[in-house]
Structure formats: structure tokens, C-alpha cells
């Protein structure tokens, strides 16, 4: 049996414990007087339209440097298909997505109320890539060629059609083969002498593997609307401040990478699995090439959509039968949120 003095000591210890616990709870309940009350972050899922890649460096920089957080957003990258992202934005399931210009026009043609609010890429990144001995030096040389492309849909198909139109050719003047996303393999094995891909991907891969190729970037011949940020008409009408905040955050990330590509590489390491194990020289070449397509260096300013490019894309889609009727360009794209 404990002595009376021991019981008294235990009692005091118990009282001290209770007082201390109460004090701790009180401290946790009250915010620190030195911190300003910050608005809660809104977690949003951002459909990217492609797999994790160094080309998404502006997004990764905006996350790593806290630009999105300052704007009130916690970003969850979603690397699902581009068309799914457009649908999700139109349905109000996600506020923003990455999508290409032609997707916006085609979606609006089907009644999806999406709007392009920031140009991430100002130049269309699709290119025709040919084995050097195929003799393709200019668009007119495509006549009579067998051309492999992922399918008769999407940016590659549209870009190729634009190039054919530029040369006064039609699909009847070439042989198109749907080869899936196997352009490098198809060209390397000689399945087809010409493929359609992206300037930041297939040409770099092929050259680094030692294949002699010629490249015809569509952007060298035709100006077309390219990848950017989309949102819904509802978001613009009801939450324009959020649209502005998101666009500004990404703009800052884009600006940082354009000014210093190494910043983009470093930020991408945390978001592109295995990037550190890949050839840094190749990755930086991809990034430098992409930067040249993000901004021409002159007009329009960084992040701004080129309305002439949009008109070109609109007319091309109409001519291809991918739009059922003319669209109002000014309802489909706006630069009002870009700094």
C-alpha cells in the first residue's frame, strides 16, 4: 500500500499532467499569432493529355516554386487522354485541362462549352520525318510517298493535312498508313519511308540512334493553334478570378523555364520518374526544342494565343469536314487572363 506522501505526489503529478494537456489543446486550437490566416487550398486534378515528360516543365516549376499554391491550388497531375480531359472540363468535373487548339474547336462543334485561355505552345509541334534517302526536302516531295502516322485522327493527321494543302496536294496523292504510336520503329525498320510525329520526340530519338533523317516542321509552313490551357464557359462566368490565378501561376512557371531551361530540368526530376537515369543531353535537347515552340520570341507575347493561327486551324478543320459548321473563334479562345 502506498504511503500517504506518495499518494499526494501522484496526485500533484496527475494535476500537472491534466493542466499540461489542456494547455496543449488550447495552443493547437488557436492559430499562431505570427501566421496570417491563409485561404484553404483547392485541390484540382489537371488532365495533361500525355505521359509525364520534361516538356511539362513549366507545370512542374509552377508546382515546385509554389506558384500554384500562391494562387490557391494544389495540383494533382492526371496523365489521361487529351479528349477525356476536354470532356471532363466541359462536364464541370475538372476546372482546367491541357488541350490542343483543334480539340477546342472540334469539341465546341459538338456542343462542349470549353474555352482556350492560355497558349502554352505558340507553334504547332507536328512534323513530317523522312528517311534521308526518301528524298523529302520540301512538302511537294510528299507526293507519291507512303506516310505512317498514329491514325486518321488527332494533331498528327491534321498537321499532315495542312502540309499537304500547303503543297497543293491531297490525301489521294499519298498513301497513308495507320501505324499506331510506333513512328520510330516503323521508320527505323523501313516499314514506311516517312512518318508524322512531334518535333520534340521522334526526330530527336531517331538522330540519337544514328538514323539519317530529314524533318519538315509543319510550323515552318503553316501557323496553326496548338497546346494550351482550357476551361469551361461556366468557370469563366462564375469564377474568373480562379481562371486568372491559375493562368498567372502557369505563366510564371513558363516564364522561368524559358529564361532558364535548367530550372525546368531540375523541377521535372521530381515529377518524371526515371528522368535522372535518362540521357540529360537528350532531355535538354527536347526541352530547348520545346521552348522554341512555346514562344516565338516576338509577337504575340508569351502565353498569348495567335488568332491568325486559330483562324487557320478553323478553316483547315472545316475543309477536312471535322467541323460541321463555322465556329466563332472569339468565343473559343481568349487572352484576357494572360498577363
Amino acid at each position: 500500500m502506498l504511503a500517504f506522501s506518495s499518494l499526494r505526489r501522484l496526485g500533484w503529478l496527475w494535476v500537472l499532467f491534466v493542466v499540461g494537456a489542456l494547455a496543449a489543446c488550447q495552443a493547437a486550437a488557436e492559430p499562431a499569432t505570427t501566421e496570417a490566416t491563409a485561404p484553404p487550398l483547392q485541390t484540382i486534378r489537371l488532365p495533361m493529355g500525355y505521359i509525364p515528360n520534361i516538356q511539362y516543365a513549366p507545370f512542374y516549376v509552377a508546382v515546385e516554386r509554389g506558384y500554384f499554391r500562391e494562387a490557391g491550388f494544389e495540383i494533382e497531375f492526371d496523365y489521361s487522354f487529351e479528349t477525356d480531359g476536354v470532356r471532363l472540363v466541359a462536364a464541370g468535373e475538372v476546372p482546367f485541362a491541357v488541350a490542343s487548339g483543334e480539340q477546342v474547336l472540334m469539341a465546341r462543334d459538338q456542343g462542349l462549352p470549353v474555352v482556350y485561355v492560355m497558349a502554352w505552345w505558340q507553334k504547332f509541334p507536328v512534323a513530317v520525318i523522312a528517311a534521308e534517302d526518301a528524298g523529302v526536302r520540301e512538302p511537294a516531295d510528299l507526293e507519291g510517298q507512303r506516310i505512317g502516322l498514329p491514325g486518321l485522327f488527332g494533331a498528327t493527321y491534321i498537321g499532315l493535312t495542312a502540309l499537304l494543302h500547303y503543297a497543293g496536294l491531297t490525301e489521294a496523292d499519298v498513301t497513308l498508313e495507320a501505324i499506331g504510336f510506333n513512328q520510330v520503329e516503323a521508320l527505323a525498320t523501313g516499314q514506311v519511308p516517312v512518318v508524322v510525329g512531334y518535333v520534340t520526340n521522334e526526330p530527336i530519338q531517331l538522330r540519337h540512334q544514328g538514323y539519317a533523317i530529314t524533318v519538315l516542321p509543319v510550323a515552318d509552313y503553316v501557323s496553326l493553334a496548338s497546346n494550351g490551357i482550357i476551361t469551361s464557359e461556366t468557370m469563366i462566368a462564375e469564377h474568373p478570378e480562379q481562371v486568372r490565378a491559375f493562368v498567372r501561376a502557369l505563366y510564371r512557371g513558363l516564364q522561368d523555364v524559358v529564361n532558364d531551361p535548367d530550372v525546368g530540368y531540375e523541377a521535372s526530376l521530381a515529377h518524371v520518374e526515371g528522368l535522372a537515369d535518362q540521357d540529360k543531353g537528350v532531355q535538354m535537347e527536347i526541352l530547348h526544342t520545346a521552348i522554341q515552340y512555346w514562344w516565338t520570341g516576338g509577337e504575340p507575347p508569351l502565353g498569348h494565343a495567335d488568332l491568325e493561327a486559330w483562324q487557320n486551324m478553323h478553316d483547315l478543320l472545316l475543309d477536312m469536314g471535322l467541323l460541321s459548321q463555322p465556329q466563332d473563334i472569339e468565343a473559343a479562345v481568349t487572352n484576357e487572363f494572360v498577363p
Binding site: 470532356r87 462536364a91 491514325g151 485522327f153 497513308l176 499506331g180 510506333n182 520503329e185 525498320t189 471535322l322
Partner: protein, 271 residues
Amino acid sequence: MAASSRPLPRWSPPSRRYEIASIAAGVLLWWAVARLSGLPSFILPTPGQVWTRGWEALRSGLLLRHTWVTLQEVLVGLSLGVLLGAPLGYALAKSRRLERIFAPYIVTSQAIPVVAIAPLLIIWFGPGMLSKVLITVLITFFPLLMNTLVGVRSVPEELHHLLCSLGARRWQVLRYLEIPAALPMFFSGLRIAATLSVVGAVVGEFIAAREGLGFLINEARGRYDTALVFVGVLTLMALALSLYAAVRYAESRLLYWQRRNGQAVVTPGRR
């Protein structure tokens, strides 16, 4: 195997009232969800919108053209799957050693997801019909092989001894014992293979094609034409169901002794 004196029961189409009622209920549920959920048509079109779009695609020839391409891939692939799977299944049933030799490759071929190996087949064999047919063969020959193997091995040994004692030759054992005995199991495998063959053809078309229902669905998806996506999917379902029904009909005709012996070949709609 005494010949029966009873006349062969007349084959008549089984009652479809349960299937029709089930489909009607499904369409009604679909309509209710589409109308009451508030989802836009580019997410969930109504049955009416899908019907209208499907009729347009039928009238323009678009649907028939793409369906014909997929049907060709399915029929050729399924036929090759039968020609490959059944004889190989018989050979493995008769030889344990052969079974042990081929087992690793057969099991591995089924463990690898078709969507993973399809791009490789397209790279190796090109984006034409050949790669789609090979994908279909890959997906269909396994159920045919295994069911043939099990069917042949299910023949009681006593019957083998009986025929041998009667002086039957090897081809007579095959013709009068092993084939009839294995046919029920073979048809079970063929039913499964018939529906899987549609999956195989479409997987290939999703990856690289310029025709076929898989291509049509992909293209419609890229144009936000969700109603046409539904048309493509429903057409694929109809294709699979038709193949299944065709196999069941062939089964009911060929396995006539089951009907003679009062063991009705179970068909949907008949108890």
C-alpha cells in the same frame, strides 16, 4: 452406344422472351439514367440519340463498312484459332511429354495482356489485317486448345480398350470415339473463343488501323461524337452475340445425340 428408336426431336428456335424483356429493361434503365442524371449528351447520350446516330451511320454506309472489316478479322482469326488450337489440344492430350514441352509457352502466351503485346505484333507484322488476325488467334486458341485437351482426356479408358478389342484402327477411334466425346467440351471452348475473337480484333484496331469498329470508336471518341462511340460498342456487342448464337446453333445440330437421349442442348430461353 445402341441406336435409339425414338424419332429425333424437332429443333425449334428457343423462346426469347426473357432475353427481350431483359434488354428492354436495360434500355429503359439507360434512358432513365441519361434523362434524370443531368449528364450532358457528350458524356451519356440517350438511347434515342444513339439510335438516330446509328441510323445515320447505317444509311451512309459507314457502319457497314467498318463492321465488315472487323467481321473479316474475327472470322479469319477465329478459324485459325480453331485450326491451331484443336489439333494442338488433341496432340497434347495424347502425349504428356508434348504437353510438358509446350506448357511454358502456352501459359505465358495467356499471361501476357493482349494490349501489351498488340503494339509489338503491329510493329513486327505491320498495321494491316495480318496483325489483327494474329492478335485474334492469340486470344482464341487457348480456350480451344484447353477444352479440346480436356475433352479428349475425358474419354473413359474402358471405351478405348473396347474399340481396340473390336479391331478398330486409330482413325476409327478418333472418328467414332474421341471426336464425339470431345465435341461438347470443344464447343464450350468455341463459345468462349467466339466472343473473345471480337475483343482481339478490336484491340488491334484501337492501336493501329484505318478501318474497323475499333477504329470507328477511336475516331468518334476523338471527335467527341459519344453517340457514335455507343453505336460502335453496341455493334460489337451484337457481333459477339451473333457469333455466340451461331456456335450454339452449330452445337445443337452436331450434338444431336444429346437431344435424342433427352439431354437437351441447353439454349437460352429454354428450361
